[in-house]
């Protein structure tokens, strides 16, 4: 992992971290044991194997529901290299420092009102080998770079923050081939400047048009987590709802580990960490709940095929059910028609952090909210939060845009371990609560 971060003209952080090791997972007596070591010697691996086995045996005393087995799946074999234009390892550390320094300075020099700027470049290069007793024998080479600029505008005690960034699976050309690092800087600075003048929205339940990033966040946070089979087994709101209508018929929601829609989405993995090919899983198809997200253990419980969602962040992490690229498929509405047909509401843009509960209640931040009155886009308001019940919001969807974009690739999903994920979609029109001041 390489990371370069400049803040206000100074190097805040630059580091290279090299981690290697081996994680061993065993299923014994219907219990999982996992052990890892950073010492790659035969003796240490043997010790880890013994520890993993005894860990599984220790659980046998207290585990009520033993693992019945793992669903069969064709185990991946061979070498997988994720497509990358311009190998990151070929770009010198000096070049990486240069672009970060330039972009940070460009954001800060954009206008006098920008008092603070920060720019970060981060790359994760992964070289992984997965072998299991069911025949998986895979070597995977993956490169995931990301780049982001944050600008803070300030006047007196008022301040506003704007973010602009991209995170992908790919190489240097994929990251900067079509968009210069300076463009990220000027967009962030310009937005921070405009947000400083913006007023808070009035808190209300109203018509909301979500931008692709917000749709990605909704798909990931508010729906995606509730359909992870481990959460379903714990009693998530969609338990026993396969085959039922859970969303407007305009909604088809997908999680995919392969190059779907557009290339380079940050959550692309090709093969999951149990050796299962990671393809496309339609979670909701035309409003009907079709599938949960599975590893091999949960797939057996639900009597279905694994969906390739078992992911581990590092060698010392055990695979968990995680999302990959989660998105809503586009349809035919134009954004300007969606605005024209809205009497009162908001167009919200710029996905920030989000959280959701297993009962479908969610809340996520938006950087910008544009007031819509009588079909016309009006004033920019401070973003605040959007909240609601995910499925009620999806049932309320009455227009789905025609253009597609991934836009949450700079984020990491945190579920005990980090994971690089992505999400996106077209613009969606729905009903939700926008936070604000009374």
């Amino acid at each position: 992992m390489t990371e370069v971060n400049f803040v206000n003209g100074e190097l805040q952080r630059m580091r290279v971290v090299e981690n290697a090791g081996c994680g061993i997972r065993v299923l014994a007596n219907g219990c999982w044991g996992f052990s890892s070591t950073s010492e790659m010697t035969a003796d240490s691996l043997k010790e880890s194997f013994t520890e993993a086995t005894s860990a599984a045996q220790v659980l046998a005393n207290s585990k009520k529901n033993r693992v019945k087995g793992l669903a069969d799946s064709k185990m991946a074999t061979g070498h997988f290299t994720l497509k990358a234009n311009g190998k990151l390892s070929d770009i010198s550390i000096d070049e990486k420092v240069k672009i970060v320094r330039e972009a940070e300075m460009a954001a800060r020099k954009h206008s006098k009102i920008i008092k603070t700027a920060s720019c970060t470049y981060r790359e994760i290069l992964d070289h992984k080998l997965i072998v299991n007793s069911d025949g998986a024998e895979v070597e995977i080479c993956d490169s995931k770079p990301e780049f982001s600029v944050v600008a803070v505008a300030r006047k007196g005690v008022e301040s506003a923050t704007a973010h602009e960034g991209v995170g992908i699976t790919g190489g240097w050309q994929d990251l900067f081939g079509t968009r210069s690092h300076l463009d990220f800087a000027s967009k962030a600075a310009d937005r921070a400047e405009r947000l400083l003048e913006a007023k808070h929205a009035k808190g209300e339940k109203t018509t909301i048009i979500l931008d692709p990033g917000m749709v990605g966040l909704l798909s990931h946070e508010a729906i995606g987590h509730t359909v992870e089979a481990d959460f379903v087994l714990s009693g998530s709101v969609v338990k026993n709802k396969i085959g039922e209508r859970v969303a407007s018929e305009l909604v088809t929601l997908v999680d995919s580990g392969s190059q779907e829609m557009t290339g380079n989405a940050a959550g692309t993995i090709m093969v999951d960490d149990e050796g299962v090919i990671a393809g496309r899983t339609a979670i909701i198809e035309n409003g009907i709940l079709k599938s949960f997200l599975h590893n091999r253990e949960s797939a057996l419980i639900f009597g279905t095929a694994p969906t390739g969602n078992a992911r581990a962040f590092q060698y010392n992490d055990e695979p968990l059910i995680r999302m990959r690229n989660t998105f809503v498929e586009p349809r035919s509405d134009k954004l300007n028609e969606m605005i024209q047909e809205t009497r009162h509401g908001y167009l919200v843009k710029g996905a920030r952090n989000g959280q959701a509960d297993a009962n479908g209640e969610f809340m996520f931040g938006a950087e910008e909210a544009y007031l819509i009155e009588n079909g016309e886009l009006g004033m920019l308001m401070k973003g605040d939060s959007i909240s609601g019940n995910a499925f009620e919001v999806l049932r309320s969807v009455d227009m789905v845009g025609d253009s597609f974009q991934y836009d949450i690739g700079t984020g990491y999903c945190g579920k005990y371990q980090p994971a690089k994920v992505d999400g996106g979609g077209p613009h969606l029109r729905c009903t939700a609560v926008i936070g604000g001041l009374q």
Binding site: M14, F34, S48, V58, E158, G203, D384, G436, L437
Partner: protein
């Protein structure tokens, strides 16, 4: 290991570093996970990692590896020097001088050495059973119990050479209550200690169970402005993050802290006193020295509402011409940052019940789920496990109410701090009551 750390410093110097520092950690950990009302998996790891920081002509370089051999440490030294040569010069880069460090008692329990995977599994089961036996409606979605022993090693080219053992036990539990199809608000509770004898998973489990049971049958409410009583978890999510950011000297120097230029001035109600204290062994952030080898001490940052000091590491202190406060933080895989150790809000004088009885109309916030901007203090999000209070009495649980406002204004409107406090890993926090807050009903 100490030998390898010294070797790393010498190698860096041999390859062109003017100054060098090596920080290594070895960790041995057993962890047991809960999922879906059952134990899920037992996990163990043995890990070592070394982070090598160098200064070449005033430029910093950093490289970290987890292969602890002389060859890989030598390669890391070469790379760290190479990275420094690509970095800009900054005259404030330096390492602390050798100083006397008195090792803290109460952070290592010898009994941890015999607390193995089996004991971890048993304790995790106890936590699960305690929550489940409270009420059949409780569902434990997930949780974990971890037992860890780690050793920090630190050496630098100023002759500093230190090491310290720390044992820590930490646990968490999260989930909800389900009553005839109705799913309550989620709750998350955690606990931790350095000592085997002080492990109390039952208390954490019961607090979790009671919180989710209390949040069943929530009612919708109309929007209003009123009082907010923050439980320690919500104080952690809302208030701690903003204060910790604002007293961070790095944020102040980067002009992203609202406390810039405010030393000696009131920033909160006079009932608030906040300190950072790594010598308080109740918190899991306790240690004798910081990430750079500076001895830890107690730092009162806000006293009776007045901002007293900022938190520094060697770099930011040199910039401001002051002494480091011993707040260099971070792991062996990153150069030192400025960070809090144990974040502590001093206990108040009122009991929680009395604080509630004094409320006209407001909401008790168990957890906050939302966004907090640590720079300007704006927050906006959803109240989790909220309870409506009217005329001093808890009326009912409330359904997903949104709350928005500004933390800095809220700190000035702070009118109550409980005498009861909760230790949550590296935080020791009371209940806080704040007036004039905006709530939006769904």
């Amino acid at each position: 290991m100490q030998e390898l750390v010294l070797f790393a410093v010498k190698q860096a110097e041999a390859h062109g570093a003017d100054d060098a520092e090596a920080f290594a950690v070895t960790l041995s950990e057993s962890e047991v996970f809960l999922e879906n009302n059952d134990v899920k998996q037992a996990k163990s790891q043995r890990m070592g990692s070394i982070g090598l920081r160098v200064i070449v002509d005033g430029s910093p370089g950093f490289y970290s590896v987890n292969r602890l051999t002389k060859d890989s440490v030598r390669d890391a030294a070469v790379m760290a020097v190479k990275i420094a040569r690509a970095s800009p010069t900054d005259k404030f880069n330096s390492f602390p001088r050798k100083s006397k460090v008195k090792l803290l008692r109460g952070i290592y329990d010898k009994a941890s050495e015999s607390f193995g995977a089996e004991a971890a599994a048993r304790t995790a089961s106890e936590m699960l059973d305690a929550a489940k036996s409270r009420d059949p409606r409780i569902t434990v979605d997930s949780g974990s119990f971890s037992s860890a022993r780690l050793i920090h090693y630190l050496s630098n080219s100023n002759g500093l050479s230190l090491s310290e053992r720390i044992s820590s036990f930490s646990w968490s539990i999260m989930g909800m209550a389900i009553d005839s199809g109705e799913v309550s608000s989620f709750d998350f509770q955690s606990g931790g200690t350095h000592f085997v004898k002080r492990i109390d998973v039952r208390k954490t489990a019961l607090e979790f169970a009671d919180t989710v049971l209390d949040s069943l049958k929530p009612k919708k409410i109309d929007s209003f402005r009123g009082e907010m009583l923050l439980a320690p978890s919500a104080v952690n999510e809302l208030v701690e993050e903003v204060i910790a950011h604002s007293v961070n000297s790095d944020a102040v120097q980067k002009k992203s802290s609202a406390f810039a230029g405010k030393i000696g001035t009131p920033v909160a109600s006079e009932i608030l006193t906040v300190e950072d204290d790594a010598t308080n062994t109740d918190g899991l952030g306790a240690a004798s020295f910081d990430r750079e080898g500076t001895p830890h001490r107690r730092n009162v940052v806000i006293e009776k509402g007045v901002l007293k000091k900022l938190l520094y590491n060697t770099y930011t202190a040199k910039k401001d011409g002051v002494r480091t406060t011993g707040n260099a933080g971070g792991s062996s895989s990153s150069p030192p940052l400025v960070s809090t150790t144990n974040f502590i809000i001093r206990a108040g004088t009122s009991g929680i019940d009395k604080m509630i009885s004094e409320m006209k109309k407001g909401i008790i916030v168990s957890r906050f789920s939302g966004n907090v901007n640590p720079i300007n203090g704006d927050f906006s999000g959803v109240v989790k496990g909220g309870k409506l209070v009217e005329r001093g009495t808890v009326v009912n649980a409330v359904k997903e109410v949104m709350v928005a406002g500004n933390i800095f204004s809220a700190l000035k409107n702070l009118d109550g701090i409980s005498k009861e406090r909760k230790v949550m890993l590296t935080s020791i926090l009371p209940y806080l009551r704040i007036g004039n807050i905006s709530f939006t009903g769904g």
